[in-house]
């Protein structure tokens, strides 16, 4: 197994420091919001993971398209790396969204448009991994799961519309209290801290992506060596 490169360690350390700084900004520096009070601090984490999670889905679909086009297995490995992080971030978004929803709206789950969309996205991503787990041939696995990922991305705008209109065709404005509805009325200090946290979340995402990509490539190499040995003789698996 190749040693982890030095720059990656340094990058990881920098990300950790920035993450702690982001937490400090959100928990200590940020003043309480006029309407939400202390709960504004949760928004920094929630919005950051939500945005980065959706970005990860788009990147996974892009790499899936590249795989279908060029049939290069590196793209398949990258698509999986993006998809895994997207699933984790979608889970974090749901968890933080529910924690925020309980004190503000009084319920853990109220079929809010974006929360519903994230839940649907999480189930779509789980389906993607189930399909991957059921196919053994790497070429076929990459091809079919890439198709699934493209359909997943194509469904996102529709799922968003459906979730938005779930209650009524024209939702009341007061009901729509969430990240983007808020940002227009946010004062600059909140926006700055929020953007800082989003950037940090994106950096954490890049770190995880690089690590997952390395593991994926080593897995592929291992698989190749195993099949090579299998061809030469079955003395390995007595």
């Amino acid at each position: 197994m190749p040693k982890q490169p030095m720059w990656l360690n340094v990058y990881g350390f920098v990300v950790l420091v920035l993450f702690l700084l982001g937490m400090y900004l959100g928990l200590v520096v940020s003043p309480p919001d006029a309407s939400m009070g202390e709960l504004i601090r949760m928004i920094y984490a929630h919005v950051a993971v939500a945005w980065v999670g959706f970005l990860a889905v788009v990147l996974a679909a892009l790499h899936s398209m590249l795989f279908l086009w060029k049939a290069n297995f590196k793209d398949d490995i990258r698509a999986v790396a993006h998809a895994e992080i997207a699933l984790v971030f979608a889970g974090l978004t749901i968890a933080s969204g529910m924690t925020w929803s309980k004190p503000t709206l009084g319920v853990f789950w109220d079929w809010d448009a974006k929360l519903t969309l994230t839940a649907l996205l999480a189930s779509l991503l789980v389906g993607y991994f189930i399909v991957r787990g059921l196919i053994d041939d790497p070429e076929r696995r990459g091809r079919i799961s890439a198709v699934v990922m493209i359909i997943v991305m194509a469904s996102l705008p529709f799922n968003y519309m459906a979730a938005k209109w779930f209650r009524t065709l024209h939702p009341a404005k007061s009901y729509n209290v969430d990240a983007t509805g808020l940002s227009s009325t946010m004062s600059p200090v909140f926006v700055k801290i929020l953007l800082f946290n989003v950037v940090v979340a994106a950096m954490i995402y890049i770190y995880f992506f690089i690590q997952r990509n390395r593991i994926g490539q080593q897995e592929a190499e291992l698989f190749e060596k195993e099949t090579e040995l299998d061809v030469k003789g079955d003395f390995i698996h007595v």
Binding site: L120, L134, V148, A162
Partner: protein
């Protein structure tokens, strides 16, 4: 044009096979009526509750039955390796998909036309003067549903655990279809506001068009054996 002709011959073949075996018809019609009965019992005897639930019940029954019909259409091909024969023919892969899609759409919309009056009577949700609009809703809703179900049935045809996998994969995708179809049916069954129905029909048309193009474009990737 030739591709369309190929698709039509596969559609005809599926219909002929169905006409001789009646497997899908028996399974879907009885299954859908059982779903209606089970849901009627589960919802209780309150007439207002039944009336409000009617459009949802209609589409749940249609969706469950549609899964059976889509899974069956590829199950038939797997027996005696008929799918390999089908793939050996010098026709475009998308024609196979189109033919299967037409057959599934045909079954599902027929079933929908049967279920609409049955649900309306059983759940005491009378259709108003715009009753013909619900036929449009059924046609567009089942089209979107069959696009996704035919596509994912092909994708899962060669996988283990395909019976349980198909609904898991496709239900999150068809949520907007169910949503729009149920809302449009609800307007027709209870509130009778055709203007809102047209809004939902637009969503259905958009969904149908985009998924039709996307699935047709990527279908050959999942049928490369």
């Amino acid at each position: 044009m030739d591709d369309l002709k190929d698709a039509l011959s596969i559609f005809k073949k599926d219909l002929l096979q169905e006409w001789r075996s009646k497997a899908v018809t028996v399974a879907t019609v009885f299954f859908a009526s059982i779903v209606l009965m089970v849901l009627a019992f589960a919802l209780g005897s309150n007439d207002t509750v039944l009336k409000i639930a009617a459009p949802g019940v209609l589409w749940v029954a249609l969706a469950f039955a549609g899964i059976i019909s889509a899974a069956q259409s590829y199950q038939n091909e797997l027996e005696e390796n008929a799918l390999e024969q089908l793939l050996l023919y010098p026709i475009a892969r998308s024609s196979i998909f189109l033919g299967k899609l037409l057959a599934n759409w045909f079954y599902m919309s027929l079933l929908g036309f049967i279920l609409v009056p049955v649900t309306s009577i059983l759940f005491k949700a009378p259709l108003g003067s715009n009753w013909w609009l619900i036929l449009v809703v059924v046609l567009l809703g089942t089209l979107g549903f069959s696009i996704i179900s035919s596509f994912y049935a092909a994708l899962t045809a060669n996988l283990r655990a395909r019976e349980s996998l198909l609904p898991v994969l496709m239900f999150p995708i068809v949520i907007p279809i169910l949503q729009a179809a149920v809302k449009a049916s609800r307007e027709l069954m209870t509130d009778n506001n055709p203007a809102i129905v047209f809004d939902w029909l637009q969503l259905l048309i958009g969904f149908d068009l985009i998924y039709f193009v996307v699935t047709l474009a990527v279908f050959h990737f999942i049928m490369e054996e």
